[in-house]
Symmetry: C2
Subunit: 403 residues, 2 copies
DNA sequence: GAATTTAATTAAATCAATGAATTAAATATA
DNA sequence: TATATTTAATTCATTGATTTAATTAAATTC
């Protein structure tokens, strides 16, 4: 247990709270912070001075609240600390540099080659991180966050060694990166990262519950409740791709029948469209089309492709309805490559299913967002995982040595 | 927000922590508490003295840890404070008296009559609470917890008025009971209460995630994560009865298709068995059998009944697998009347489905329990809801006035 | 029976937040 | 323009829960 609180703990908790409030509020005065936190103005003065000193926050401009003296605008200081975010996918990886407000400063995409071994892939990821860190001059890189595909079994006793993920289970990412770059490293499941990423992106408070659907080659989800990820016993909560939506449905390679991801995923879409093409159905596409081409065809109005895409999105809608019934989230965000190819149609299909199948009171209290061509939520989330990790016990501020 | 912490907050948090540790540990020395909490022995001495003074904990016996001086055994003082728990069901209600360790001291069951109006029903519940409180002499009743059927929409702004539940949506239970009995009152959805009840019953720590399935006239669930209920946006998380398990399945009155509770619930069991009886299938049962009779027939080995029960339990198994994939709980508890009629068979069926359909790593880390003839988890949970409510901010210890 | 180990208490010290007074800077009013 | 009012922010002595260090108490070991 070990969670009794003493003065050190109080200090840490209040400082982290102020940072979180500033992240949500964007910019506000000391007086605002006092009101939001319930702490006294004198305390806020102290905390602000300390956080300013270690360059976590800064003063910038003024806040006019009507009458009376203007407040000094305080916001996160995005000019000094940096985190590196990496999203590893099965066919490519993204790497980027972020400030501590979670803003992407730069990012790049790197394809994996067919024959590349896990070690070679990990080597290229490390080189890319190296090159990002080398470019940084005055600023200070304090952490690296990595989002990897699931299932990702967290070893609760020793985070250092005990993880595995598909294709390269033997590389202790966290330890190796920590040793090489000498900064804190946080590894997270990509859908969980996406959930934290969209939670920051949506800029909502702790009291809101958010579900992120990662609709890619498989279907995963991440849940943010009370500002924290719901991880489950082994850290594999969110494997919604293996939720049965047809009890006597198609046999999945996981051993279950009628799994959601047998009816809805970019893999299934590509396979089904190509199968129909082989059978000679009319389409502007040729056999052997990949997701990009299918996306273009769908956006161009190709009937076969649109029909298949709509079918998948409707199944996704059933998954969304199930999660709404099970968890009653305030916010649902759907992202990743299946969403990216045609977000407008996905939104229509999902909303239709939700309208048809969901209790109206619950439905009307749920915001549903599709992430199209904007930022990759799992990449952004990788950075957020690192930032949240730094703020979390027990290492808060240990990385920000005295100036 | 308003969650900055000062010295008062620290004191409250640490005292609540000690109570929670004692609840889990059952009985331990001051030194043990210091080790578990991370607080110093001197602090524990102070806290223990205060909590002893307000009769929340007591010294009882000694603890021999090998060599060295023996510790004094500390445990929750179950002799003074009392809470009343009430579970309201559609056809009956249970009411009981509990100590602050969540032990049931007495309870009774009261059937609702067919024609009884909501007000009459609520009147009888109040009389029963009155009679329980009257029996209590030296002890002190500090709170009432009520578990009611869902869906239960929590009004987050004003818990006083804004709830509704099926059949009697207009009675402001919380306010009326508070006014009449002058104690704290907490209302919770019955599956959520059941979840908290089994969480205490299982006596596991905060780090464990527990899911409780209330398998009765409908199927509901409650989720305990980090020692707290997952409530969702409107407090209706856990409506797993309306999770689709057959995308193109039976139309449910909720508007959705293929809802779990169309394939599995005591209502469905009774209807399906009686329908088969009408059609002349062989059975020891007669037409118009109720759940009691069906349960007896099943336990007596009546083939028709057993087959129907197994069918329902298998669907429940699909629901369990889905929840395991979605939330990855450490512990699954299945209770209520459908479980009660034949727990051994339910366990077999559910475990078979889980074995057949679930990822083995996750499966082996999940404990699955069926609650048979033991305590009603939602009744116990009603009491726990009250106790947890008292311990939660902001009212912790305000009810325990100075002795 | 003395040494060792563990438990629990006591009393002074620590230090994060607080309260009260003060300074600062805006608008409103005359 | 001068003055009152309002809100923002700071200063510094005070508060009080936890801690530290020393002490007492009671068990086992040899």
């Amino acid at each position: 247990m070990k969670n009794g609180i003493n003065q050190d703990g109080v200090q840490k908790i209040n400082r982290v709270l102020i940072i979180r409030l500033l992240r949500e509020a964007g910019s506000c005065s000391r007086a605002d912070l006092a009101r939001m936190s319930g702490l006294r103005p004198a305390t806020i003065t102290n905390i602000v001075n300390e956080l300013k000193h270690i360059r976590l926050i800064r003063e910038e401009g003024a806040i006019n609240a009507g009458r009376g003296r203007n407040g000094v605008a305080i916001s996160l200081d995005t000019s000094y600390y940096r985190v590196v975010g990496v999203r590893v996918s099965r066919k490519y990886f993204l790497a980027g540099l972020f400030d501590i407000a979670g803003n992407e400063l730069e990012s790049s995409r790197h394809e994996f080659a067919e024959g590349e071994t896990p070690k070679e892939r990990f080597g290229r990821i490390q080189e890319q991180i190296e090159s990002i860190i080398e470019q940084v001059k005055e600023e200070k890189v304090v952490a690296i966050g990595i989002a990897i595909p699931g299932p990702f079994f967290r070893n609760r006793d020793s985070r250092e060694e005990g993880f595995e993920f598909q294709d390269w289970p033997e590389i202790p990412i966290e330890r190796l990166l920590k040793e090489r770059f000498g900064v804190y490293v946080f590894v997270e499941h990509d859908a969980n990262a996406g959930a934290l990423g969209s939670y920051w992106q949506m800029n909502v408070g702790q009291e809101k519950m958010l579900v992120y659907f990662s609709a890619g080659q498989g279907i995963g989800a991440g849940f943010v409740n009370g500002g924290k990820l719901i991880l489950g016993a082994l850290g594999v909560a969110g494997e919604i791709g293996h939720m049965t939506v047809e009890t006597n449905g198609i046999l999945c390679k996981c051993g279950n029948y009628g799994c959601l991801e047998m009816y809805c995923s970019s893999t299934v879409l590509v396979n089904r469209v190509n199968k129909k093409l082989t059978k000679g159905n009319y389409s502007i596409l040729k056999e052997g089309s990949d997701l990009d081409k299918i996306g273009k065809a769908a956006r161009a109005g190709d009937k076969l492709t649109v029909a298949e895409y709509e079918r998948e999105c409707s199944y996704l809608g059933v998954g969304v309805v199930n999660i709404m019934n099970i968890l009653n989230p305030d916010i649902v965000v759907i992202g990743d490559e299946l969403a990216r190819i045609f977000p407008e149609t996905m939104k229509e299909c999902v909303l239709k299913v939700v309208r048809d199948r969901m209790n109206p009171i619950v439905r009307e209290h749920t915001d549903i967002h599709i992430v199209g061509d904007e930022e990759d939520m799992s990449l952004k989330g990788a950075a957020i995982v690192a930032i949240e990790g730094l703020l979390d016990e027990p290492i808060a501020f240990e990385w920000a040595e005295e100036q």
